[in-house]
Each structure stands twice: as C-alpha cells, then as structure tokens.
Symmetry: C2
Subunit: 437 residues, 2 copies
C-alpha cells in the first residue's frame, strides 16, 4: 500500500538530455508533490547521463545531476528513462537496466522497431515493465489504449498520421499550392524538419511507428523490415490539387491491417501516401498534428489526435509511463506484458489489397476510355468511377482519373504497365492508394 509512512523515494535515471530529456527533468523536478501523490512515494531524479558535461543547457537542468557514466547511473536506479535515441548505447543500457531489475521507459521508436522483441523478452524474463507510450505519436495516448482498453476486442485496421513533418508539408501543399521542395524548406525554417529530411520525407520514421503499432494491435511481432515503405517524394502539387478535385486529401499513412479472418488471416503493414476522403476524420488533421485511426470489431472506429513530437508533449507521455512503472514497483505486480500469441504472416508489399486512383494523360479523342477500361477488365481490376477531364482543364491534354475497387497491388502494377503501353496513353501521371473510404 502506498499510503504507509514515508516510503523510500524511487530513483529515476534519465539517459539523454536533449529537447525531450530536458522536459522530462523539468517535469520531475518541478512537480514533486503531484508525482508523489500519483505514485505513492517521492520520485527522485537520481542523475542525467549526457555525452558532454559542458554543453549549454536549459537552466532547469541542475548541473550536479549530470554524469557521463551512464552505466553507473543505470545500476543504481529503480526506473530508467531512455530518451537518448539511436540504437547504441541505448540498447545496451536498457538491457542492463532490465537485467538488473529496473523498470524502463523509452521514447526510442527506432530501437523498438529494430530490437524490440529481444528487449521485451528481457523485460518479461526479469518481471519488470518496459513502457514506450512516447515512441509512437508523441503525446497521444495510443499504446496504452490499444494494449489495455482494446484488450478484449479485435483490431482490424490502423490508419495513422504518425509523422508531423510530412503532414505539415502535405498540408501546405494543399492550402498554399506549394511544391514539395518549397514546403519542405518552409518546414525546415520552422524547425519541423531536419536539415536532412530523409527520415521523415522518405517514411523511415513512420515505418518504425507502423511496426510498433502493428505488433501491438495484432499481438504479434512485426519488424521494421516487414514494413513496405514509400515516402512523399513522388507527390506533386498537381497530385494534391487533383486529390482535392476528387474529394480527397493526400496524407502519408502508416497502415496496419488484417486481411482475412481476424484470428487466422494475414497482415499488411505499410507506409505510403494515400488519398483520404475529405469527410474522413483523418482528413481534418492539419499542420504538424498526428492522429491514429483505429477500426476494431467491437469498438468500431476510434481516433486519437494530438501532438506527435516536441519536447513537452513527448515528455508528458514519458512521465505518464514513469508514474505507471513507479507505482507498480510500490504496489507490486506487473502490467500487461507484450503479447505475441498471434503469429500472423506479414504479406509482402505486392500482395497488399487496396483501392487505387490512377491519373492518366491521354489523347483527346473518342474511344480512349473504352480501351483503358478494357485493359483493367482483362487484368481483373474492377473500376469504381472514371472521371474524364476536358483538355481545357489541363492545358491541351485530356486526363482520365480512374478509381478502382480493392485490388492486389501486384495486379494493379501489371495493369498500369499494360495501360501505359496503350497508344493513346501519353503518360501515367500518378498511381495513388485510397484509404479510409
């Protein structure tokens, strides 16, 4: 019982003191009374492991807590908070903490996506908690709801806007008509994008989060290498404008879904730009915000929305996990371990099933539509709607916008190749997946 007299303080070791680490330190140091009330014992920041003692830091970070000896800090801790990022030395330190019986809270999505299974095994073997709410979608509570609130339900599909940088970029392309490069430059100027925007723009960040979300939602292990990944580099201002004309917005989505029976199917996990219907809740997610849309058999559609990055929002998620693990150390018992009782085969990218929108530039003469439709029919790809734009609309070239019913990616690719070879087809301008309709 936490109410007994003067329980010993819980010692927290903080690994990393960047933007997030600074806010975690501030949160622990500035709210001792509230944290003690939630946990049932004082929470003490035992030390902060950094690479350099001399770097300039926020005045909220007490210099006397800094150390370069992360290993010694970990060894004396009840709870280890890892916000240093990267694979090493984070992995080694976390493994050491778990083996030594400390609970661990991490915000490190790259580490979890690459080495999660072994770390979860280590936590389970040691009977301690390894929590990571901050690793997916920053401040948004998504790990705990999927893992606990939906534990008696079956998740069918997750569509996530889990990278704020690309959402900002696509939003600016839509609202201001910017090309990708211009929007990325703007995002860099505002601090939303790194000098090298590869991790965001090419979908690596979103892919790590997709692997974590899929593992959670489907009680299985999905590794980063299982995630099919396509970033937003191929998205043009014209694509975004056309999306709008057909009642959609373009979002970079992390998709994880079960194909077939919910207890005996296959799963598809992928990251790609997609057309989302303008009246879908995800379409309203603007700027650098994140949102995760979950479809479960019982609960139906759910959406979780908020800030996916930034020091204070991410620290909020870390501190929530710190309270959970600290309290569990006091009251005894252990939370839900990572469940992995399902062994869904992960479909290869070409086997994923989606609806597509294909935009073609074609000769402006009768019969072209029939010819293209014939090729789709021959490949077994069923057409939902076709829109034909007059040459006036696009300066001389006629456009065909074909929306298909759900089709295997492989069939679609073969179909598009065949369509591209038709004489009146000048160019396959874009092939975009449609999600959420």
């Amino acid at each position: 019982m936490p109410e007994t007299s003067s329980p010993a303080p819980l010692r927290v070791a903080l690994l990393g003191c960047g933007v997030v680490g600074t806010e975690v330190a501030r949160g622990i140091l500035e709210n001792p009374i509230d944290l003690a009330a939630r946990v049932g014992a004082p929470v003490e920041l035992a030390g902060i492991a950094v690479r350099s003692l001399d770097a300039e830091r926020d005045p909220a970070v007490p210099r006397d807590l800094l150390t370069t000896d992360a290993t010694a800090l970990v060894d004396g801790a009840d709870v280890v908070v890892e916000v240093m990022g990267g694979i090493e030395p984070a992995r080694t330190l976390i493994a050491r903490a778990l083996a030594g019986g400390a609970a661990v809270v991490t915000a490190n999505k790259a580490l979890l996506a690459e080495r999660g299974p072994e770390l979860f095994e280590a936590a389970d073997a040691a009977g301690v908690d390894l929590l990571y709410e901050a690793a997916v979608a920053g401040a948004i509570p998504i790990v705990r709801p999927i893992r606990e609130s939906l534990a008696g339900d079956h998740v069918r599909r997750i569509l996530g806007i889990v990278n704020g940088t690309t959402n900002y970029v696509l939003d600016r392309m839509a609202t201001e008509g910017l090309e990708l490069d211009q929007a990325v430059k703007e995002a860099q100027a505002l601090g939303y994008a790194e000098a090298d925007p590869t991790a965001d723009v090419d979908g690596f960040d979103a892919a790590a989060k997709a692997a974590i979300l899929a593992s959670l939602a489907f009680h299985t292990r999905v590794a980063l290498k299982d995630v099919a990944r396509e970033g937003i580099r191929g998205v043009s201002a014209a694509d975004v404008a056309w999306a709008s004309r057909t009642g959609h917005v373009i979002k970079l989505l992390a998709v994880a879904e079960v194909i077939g029976p919910v207890d005996d199917g296959e799963i598809s996990v992928r990251v790609h730009p997609a057309l989302v219907p303008a009246d879908h809740p995800l379409a309203a997610v603007r700027g650098a915000f994140n949102a995760v849309f979950v479809e479960a058999d019982g609960a139906g559609p759910l959406m979780f929305y908020g800030q996916g990055a930034g020091g204070r929002p991410t620290a909020s998620a870390v501190l929530g996990d710190v309270v959970s693990v600290a309290r569990r150390r006091l009251t005894g018992g252990k939370g839900l371990r990572e469940s992995k009782d399902q062994a869904f085969p992960v479909l290869p990218p070409e086997a994923a099933v989606t609806r597509f929108q294909v935009r073609l530039s074609v000769a402006d003469r009768p019969g072209v539509l029939a010819q293209v439709a014939g090729v789709l029919a021959d490949h077994g790809v069923s057409i939902d709607t076709v829109r034909q734009s007059s040459p006036d609309e696009e300066g001389g070239a006629a456009h065909l916008i074909i929306s298909t019913h759900a089709a295997r990616e492989a069939s679609l690719r073969a179909t598009v190749d065949a369509v591209a070879g038709l004489e009146p087809v000048r160019q396959v301008i874009s092939v975009l997946r449609v999600e959420g309709s």
Copy 2:
C-alpha cells in the same frame, strides 16, 4: 506469473443482460482463446443475473447461465461486471462484491456520478479494482488515458461531446435545417433517442459524465450536483443557422476546467450548448459520434473520438477493463486507485468564465450599436467583435451579433438584462457560450 501451468479460471459474474450485457456475454463466450492469452488464465462466464428468466434473448446468451439470484452470483465471483444500470440494486451488489474481494467493472455513469466516492473508498479499502471505462463515452478509451497516460501532466480543460443523441440532433439541425422537435423525432425513429428524451436533451446524461471526467482529470471529487446543466431545448434552427454564418457549429459540451493556477485554482464543471469554431477538431464530430478534447499543460491539445453508445462499442470498453482487472488478480498488485489528493473548490455556475455570443433584434437606425456597446462597457464586459446584419437579411428587423471576450457569467447576465431594457432593443434572441476558440 501467468505462464505457469493451468491457472484456475477467473469467474466473471455478469449483472444485467440488456443490449450491453448481451454483447459482453458474447465477447466472453466467443473469444476464450484470445481472452485467456491476454489475461494469462481462462476467463469463465459464471452466470448472468437478470430480472426475468423468461424474457426473449439473443441466442448467444445461454439460458443455463441465467439466474435471478444476483447476490449468490456475486458471492462466487472473481470479477463482477455491472451493466444493469440505475442506482439500486447496482450499488448494493457492487459494494458487496468489493467487500468480498472481487474486482468490479461497471458501465454505470449515473451510479458513479451519484455514489462514486463511497464505492471508490470501498474498492481502495478492499485493495481491489473498480474500473469504469465504459461509463464515459462508450467505446472511446478516455478514462485510462486521463488516469494513466496523463498522470505526469496537468489537465487544464476538457471539452467533451459525450452524448451522441444530442450531437445527432444538432447535426441534423445544421445540415437539414430541422427544428429541434423534428430532429428529436428523427433520432427516436432511428433508435438514437428514447421515447422520453429528457435524459439526453436536458443534459442529465452529459452532466453525469462531466462529473466523472472532472473528478478524474483534476484528481478530486466532483458530484453530479456540482455540475451546472443546461440542455439543448432552447436551441432553435435559427440559432444553428446563425452559428454557421459566424463560422461556428453548436455542440452540447461537457466542460471541466481549472480557473487560475493548476495546483491552487478553482474548477468549473458544466454542461451547455456552445458555439465551437468550425475549424476546431470537435466541430468535425458528426452524427451520433462522441469526442473528448483534452488540453494539458505538457501534452497540449488531445482528442479522443469514437462511438459513445451501443451494445458492441460499450462491451468493447467493458471487456478491456475485464482483461485489466483479471490480469491484475493473477499477477498481483493493484492499479492506480482513484486519486483525490486535490481539493479544488467547484465554482458556482454564475462564477464560470466564458466568452459569449449575444444575438439581439434591434431597431434599424443609427446609434443603436453605440448604445449597446456602452452598456457592455459599463458592466466591464469587453467586446471582441460586433456584426450588424441589415434588415433585409432577417425580414425587417436588424440584428446585432456581439461576441465578447471572456467574462463571468454573472456579469454577462446582468449586462444582458440591462441591454434588454434599452429602448431600441426589441429582443434578446439568444445568448450562447463560445468554447474552443
């Protein structure tokens, strides 16, 4: 450890077999393998307490599990699930279950809002869990995120669309121009509203949820009687249309907020129709959906969206709680108890601080605006914007739409009375609060 050989099954007593109870029974009976995997032991439905053994029921409900002896059923259970609703006998049965050491999961918002404190005390005294995710916003995970994910943060404000019936009604008024009565009749025909719609339309249901949300978010005890309540009966089709012209939608909101310092302020808890800016995430919540918008110091804005009612969605939330409490019985330890370490004074309704939009019908002559503005200034109510509509727009009468800066409700009321007494003011047509801007 749940992995040890053949742990004994956990016996679940289900109290109530209406729409939600039927789906809870189905969920337990149809997913034994998944539930056992999540919990670490088989979950056995020990019995279902009903009022009548002879009522017609879904074939998923086995007749041999039905009993009219709820007390005996409770006495033999590890976990008691209460979905019968109402205050008695639910309260007595839950108290008995807790005293006997069983964990309890309830979806009963009315009971929690009226008698929550004593039940939480009883759970704490017995060292067992009392969970209630389904009591607020149905399937939407909101209790667990506020209680656990935000445990290291400070919630500043909650704005919730927590009653699907009234959201449906207001949505139909906005999209179809219906008057309230017509929209309510439509909701009744669709099964969204009861034959007697009082609990929804007059805000009683939302008020119970507001009390629960405020207690959770501010770590205090807010009783139903502390919640200022105004339903949607006063909202006309004209109000809804005017809201749209000024860039808003009207929503029935459950509002819980801290006025003043987050650790030493006062709280205001209320339910009322409010103007929400059209670009606010809550404005996009359509039909019978629910959403809870949370503003926290660290996390910033968060929103949780989904189905707030219905058998399967509510059962999903109940089953998530069943897994949590069942697992905790196996692994030992206890979850977060209800925290009540804060003792925020609850402000009386007249002391609440909001922005207002006041719509007046006035004589169409120069100087009226100056006169009205003078009255507001005299009462210390600051004007944000004024819009004056020509008589053409409203068939002969000129309209003044005044948006104020934040003002105490009492000041505003006095001001409106004074304005109503001005000679050129024909009528105070509506006074609506503005939230989320």
